[in-house]
Amino acid sequence: MSQHETKVLFEGISKSFKKRDEELQVLDSIDLAVAEGEFVCLLGPSGCGKSTLLNIAGGFERPDQGRVTIDGDEVDGPNARRVFVFQEYGIFPWASVWDNVCLGLRKLPKAEQARIAQATIELVGLEGFEKAYPMELSGGMKQRVEVARALAVAPDVIFMDEPFGALDSLTRLTMRAELIRIWKASKPTILFVTHDVDESIQLADRVVVLSGRPGTIADIVPIELSHPRDQSGPEYGAIKRRLFDALGVTEVA
């Protein structure tokens, strides 16, 4: 965050869904600026609209009001330069690890594809598994494949929708550390949705706390601790308390 150049800009985003004649407002005038290369976590309880906000930024859904711009251009659909990482494994089970990682590289010459795919597979620690199919891999490894597929296209922005939510808690810790390592290597802008307070403190430059429905921004908490972040330190505890306060949770063990 040496230069505060805005990458992703949310302006007055509102969105509601129709559910049996009932208008359900999930987002209410969200304004947020995310800087180039910044790692921002969207933290909130389930149903607060954080995934909807991410889907709007990713171009999969349209806001009722307001707009999202990336580098000043309005988002009007998905774009291969901004890649989504899904919780429920968006990689293709019918294709090998290698073919999955090559998905976004398919228009490049074969030699170029091979060079990038090999480098990306090494970056996420999957060398030796190039020919494996997703069903042969553990949940954590599948998520590495998906991260590799995203990184291979050298995206400006990566949207991550609770990508580690389906993993066991130890794998989740490893994946967070790995994600920070990978992010530092290429510095894409990352928007990461989570409902896990610790996850957001361990990852983000800034945590954006969304309140319950309709989602509005309750607090924005910068985290200036250096990685790896010491969970037992006093600053960590203070940030955690502030986040829980913003979420409206008063009793914390």
Partner: protein
């Protein structure tokens, strides 16, 4: 004979029950064999009790089977049935899979075609025989048409359903990486639907094999269905009828086995776990 057979039945049923409780080999080999032997024993018992030349015993059926195998009838009639099934099935797959992919993916195509498909589906292929003979004559043409008709709907509807079941994350991944047109079908829609397409091919081939026998009994002058009718009409050879039935069953098992082989490829195996 009959007290002896009865004793055999009892011994075998006890053996079968005993085997059922044992290990894996007992469960997958011995127990099914015991059940088979038991059925054969009951068959033998019944036909020796009500002895008549319209009740062929297992041994008489076996010798009739040998008669069919030794003459050129086996080859000629199986080939006729298989020829019709193969061509009707292949034509149905070549048209039904692309149509199902397209209709499944396009909301408008689905809305336009689904009522017609669902309306034609419950009409038994056998009901088409009068028109089939009128249009194609008695022979392979009518058979191929009926098998095409019988397999087309399971394949088209199965493919359509498979495409409509493609998960949202895979659709969005495809969108995200800018796949469209033929490339979208080649890289996502077709492979995502393939496991279910293979299942629908299996169902269609099973139906086709049932239909061809019925069709040949009603309106054709060759094939295994015709052989059954012929054996009954020409001298009440019920042993030949039973032998042909066994043959039809055996060929059906082989056909199903061949389609099931498709389910073992790496590209589709994912579709058969956790189901």
């Amino acid at each position: 004979m009959s007290p002896l057979a009865l004793a055999g039945v009892l011994v075998l049923s006890l053996a079968a029950i005993a085997y059922l409780a044992r290990g894996r080999v007992g469960r997958v080999v011995l127990a099914p064999t015991a059940v088979l032997v038991l059925v054969l024993a009951v068959w033998q018992l019944a036909t020796s009790y009500y002895a008549s030349n319209t009740n062929p015993s297992p041994m008489q059926t076996a010798s009739a089977l040998w008669e069919i195998v030794a003459s050129d009838q086996l080859w000629r009639h199986s080939a006729a049935s298989l020829f019709r099934v193969t061509w009707g099935f292949v034509l149905a797959a070549l048209t039904g899979i692309p149509l199902g992919l397209w209709v499944g993916w396009n909301m408008r195509g689905f809305e336009a075609l689904n009522p017609l498909i669902q309306g034609l589906r419950p009409i038994s292929p056998i009901a088409w025989i009068p028109f089939a003979i009128l249009w194609f004559g008695i022979g392979d043409g009518a058979g191929v048409f009926l098998i095409f008709y019988a397999s087309f709907f399971p394949i088209t509807v199965g493919t359509m359903a498979a495409v409509r079941n493609i998960s949202l994350v895979h659709q969005r991944s495809a969108q995200n990486f800018g796949l469209h047109g033929l490339e979208l079908f080649r890289r996502v829609v077709f492979p995502a639907a393939l496991p279910q397409i293979i299942t629908s091919l299996r169902i269609a081939l099973g139906v086709a094999w049932l239909v061809i026998v019925a069709a040949e009994m009603v309106g054709m002058d060759s094939g295994l269905g015709y052989l059954i009718n012929d054996a009954r009409n020409m001298g009440k050879r019920y042993d030949l009828v039973a032998a042909t039935m066994l043959l039809i069953g055996a060929i059906g098992i082989v056909l199903d086995y061949l389609v099931r082989k498709l389910e073992t490829f790496d590209e589709v195996r994912w579709g058969y776990v956790n189901r």
